[in-house]
Symmetry: D2
Subunit: 339 residues, 4 copies
């Protein structure tokens, strides 16, 4: 931690800051520059809230030096983590890029089995489908719930695909863990710490979506909550952030992929469906995500998007998926990976 004093800070004011620093159990190092005095602190501790020092007289700002997350960082673990998902134990985070497709909501047995067959035939490694739906409006379709989970399990048994589904609250975890392969934490729940801790105690991999306005640091701290509670199988998922852009539902910031690869050992998956909100933009963003180095893609696919009970506007059709897969394969090969 570095504390920058305002110009004109007196010796007493600097000493007061030094005292506060020592209160925190740190050692100080005072540097008198030409314009300003700076107090560098040694023995930085991640778990102490030091912003309070900003309140001391004549302190201009406090600059943390350590990232506040630890177990998610490359400092702790140099090599990339591979997370095996589904009946076939596909290794997310390895050389091969995994594509996961499926509807936003599970709507019926026919629908989910049909789309599972599509995903399998296209060469996907996973099937996504929402059973519990977080909806912005209380009047919107809320999902098939338990029945949906059972249909997912049936689709899994039939195709061997890994099934991904969202858990919205703690009491859903046991059933979802029993019937599905990967517990998804939605963007709106990235800051739901009680839920993060609870999936941290589950024995299934967790796909953690970045919050709409979460910084990278907050995203990694959410992963840290899960790992800290005991579950190291965290898959990070970028699904777009909220900006002023109005031709998309969200802005998909793909630079996050190489940055996360630099900062963390966890696999990184991209969701170009929520990341754009419009089906016509999804194929290009899938291609870009693979080229940027994503370990996986999770996308929405629906056999009849015009009548989908949710997210129809961003769901691609099976025909588009079939066309897209060989292109993604060629792009992966261009960077020495595979789909």
């Amino acid at each position: 931690m570095i504390i920058v004093m305002k110009p004109g800070a007196s010796e007493d004011q600097v000493q007061h800051v030094v005292d506060l620093v020592r209160d925190f159990g740190l050692k100080e190092h005072v540097i008198h520059g030409t314009d300003r005095t700076v107090v560098a602190c040694i023995g930085d501790k991640r778990h102490v809230d030091k912003s309070a020092i900003e309140n001391a007289s004549m302190v201009e700002r406090v600059v943390p030096v350590l990232a506040p997350y630890k177990m998610a960082s490359r400092e702790v673990r140099g090599e990339r983590t591979q997370i095996r998902v589904g009946p076939r134990q596909f290794p997310l985070g390895g050389r091969q890029v995994g594509i996961i497709a499926g509807p936003c909501s599970i709507e019926s047995r026919e629908q989910i089995l049909l789309l599972a067959d599509v995903a399998q035939k296209a060469g996907c490694i996973g099937l996504r489908g929402g059973a519990f739906k977080p909806r912005t409006s209380p009047y919107a379709f809320q999902g098939l719930r338990e029945e949906g989970l059972k249909l997912l399990a049936e689709a899994r048994a039939r195709t061997g695909l890994a099934v991904f589904t969202e858990v919205m609250s703690i009491e859903q975890i046991p059933l979802v863990s029993e019937l599905c392969d990967v517990l998804q934490i939605g963007a709106r729940n990235m800051h739901n710490y009680a839920l993060l801790e609870a999936v941290g105690k589950a024995d299934k991999p967790v796909l953690l979506k970045r919050g709409l306005s979460a910084t990278l640091e907050e995203f990694l701290l959410a992963a840290e909550y899960i790992i800290n509670a005991g579950n190291e199988q965290v898959i990070l998922c970028e699904r777009g952030i909220r900006t002023f852009e109005d031709y998309v539902r969200n802005t998909l910031p793909l630079a996050v992929v190489p940055e996360l690869n630099d900062k963390t050992h966890l696999p990184v998956v991209v969701d170009p469906s929520h990341g754009t909100g419009h089906a016509h933009l999804v194929p290009a963003m899938c291609r870009a995500a693979v080229a940027a180095g994503a370990d996986g893609i999770i996308l929405e696919c629906h056999n009849d998007p015009e009548h989908a009970s949710s997210d129809g506007a961003q769901s691609i059709t099976p025909a588009t998926l079939y066309e897209l897969m060989p292109v993604l394969k060629r792009i992966a090969q261009a960077i020495d990976r595979d789909v």
Copy 2:
């Protein structure tokens, strides 16, 4: 709902859209403009997801006409709602502006009683204090929990102040409802629909904080979740949004105050502590919020901010609070209200 077709849409393509519109139980009205055809739909229903129509061939975009919330809107209720809080039943949403002050976290009996006395002496109507703390980092202080709630209740008995505290999960609701006056939903939980429905069944007023990147519509839909579940006592709280600005923790968009007064009948409270993140900006933003027409202010105040266990940087001291209150009173009077 208005559906705008792309230029060059054929008769068949327009007819396909008309068929979809009828599938939704709506009546269409086709308008052929000079450049484009537009399909206006009559009998608009709030609870149908119509974005799927966007996926139909040659549709450019779908423009909703109705706001998706209803019970929170002025259309349903013309006059302002007043919500009575605390032992003295202070009416938030009336002529008088209510100031609520207190620490970010309850740290000890001495601290919370001291700050309750400060709040009372300063002329506040409420005391805030966190017992359960949502923290970005798993390593940060998580609150005194049940013990904190009991201390709040003690402070309430001693001073007659209304006590406000956050509920982070469903199982906390009964105890918080028993011991406190207002259930606070934090910004990070604004999209936690299970929690919204649960406080919607409680019999205490709810202070609902706007999410960091929530649109106004999403904010009002969150209120709608609570009202729809049976609890009409919702107080809206603006606490700052995430933008590119870097001299503040959040950007406080005060225009939300007159806009909410225009769109909804619910009381509006402003939190300038989270809304700026820095104690030196809080007094000016309190003044501005009252002048903009806020029904209340909720702010962080700490007797020793430099040693606060959380949010020290944005907590003002009792001395600053004492100085600020008469100024807020004069500003309120300048717009024919009072503090």
Copy 3:
């Protein structure tokens, strides 16, 4: 400047950074922390681009300590600058808050004289009006140009109001300087450095609008360009920033007012018309701006907003202005100022 090394940086890598630091004519101070090494640099120079050091091997980031502006900062000048504007030499930046009103565009002699009379009668100190209009669309009304300036000068002679108008290019400066009192730099030109330097050589005060997505530092650096070229009479104007909010044209971040008062000695004016984009939000934001400590307000007023040739949606009527002024006066008095 503080250089933070990545964990595991070798002695050679640190030495390489030290060499770079010395290349810049700075003195280094190496601090070995528990997890990381930090290189603090003494003799920090504002005009050297040091971001390049970030490219050195194993550097994590470079944290500047000095603000890059100097002459706009309070470090250089402790007391507030007052800038006298118009025939009556009203001191912006003093105890009294100055209100400037007028149409977006000057449309006709009748219109501008009528609105000048309104502004004077309401107690404003200035008249605004665009003669040269920067328009997003090449097809939109571009202003009355020279003729407009002459009408402004006539309105000034008639009322004694200070006249404010935008300069969009260097060649307009002489004529505008001759006929008007304050040269306005629009938000879209805040980064037009050639224009900033040119008004820096003019002998009229400059009202500098913050760019739509400018940080505070960039805003003050734009002021620095003008001051550095010789013109110390810079009035800063906040006019709203671009965010995800969709109920407003721009988000008006009023915390900028106390922050600028803390960081700079220059007067600060707020434009709630562009800052919201909607007439129904303007009065509340005028009140809030005065309460937050603004030295002035510049707003759009039109006698027939429905037929205004630009910005009708955000222009208040004369009737609204007459009602608003005494309220602003009372709010100013509540904080020991006056209108």
Copy 4:
């Protein structure tokens, strides 16, 4: 244009809106829905500012139907425009993707000739280099100016590369047009309409960078300014937008590439150097941009980034460029294009 009335609007209020619509020379179509009345207008004109209607009593909002740009849109021109650049007339917008590399600033003859040789050897089609530098700080290096242009011309003669350089003001246009191949308009000047019109009269292609917070519509309107003034050779360049993200200098929203391909016939180039701000993110974003369908890449390359006079942090080295080019070629081939 669609005008949505508030619920409860009277017949007279609707009639008043109808009168305004007719004042604009449009024909109205009134639709009485179950909750609201909507006035659809036929004969929509792009060049009329209709936002003023929003000010009429009981109008809720005005929804434009036509995009305000025309000549840049696919409605006017179905096939993609190819723009030929440089001595070898490389067709930007065709099947082949063009890579343009070079330093941020031209620093010396040695430097620019060396980097031109690097670009040529790597297989680039263009050389970029700033002679006139827009700098946020008045104290920063401002470029070699005329001398720089001559060095660019020399590099061009030597290598046959197309040379790209920024024009910052109108008077620079003749000389830049004479010595260089493509006039670049920087992001900070995207709204400088006088400059847009002036390059609209030049006979060289223009590379137009998107403003930091420009919407897509504003970006295309800036292109429209240039085309409308007579110059149809406009290359659009995405260089990142300003958001809350703090691990990058800008957020690079690659979905803009397919969206622009859908909306406009102009070629689209991506700048991953400014688009990320950090050299370590540039290769991945180059790969992603090509995969997303960009027609070109413009990037910063420097032989000694640690000592670059500007933008060192985001410049890749020649070694990185040599490694990157064959990868980009393979990715282009994966989508049936080439580099």
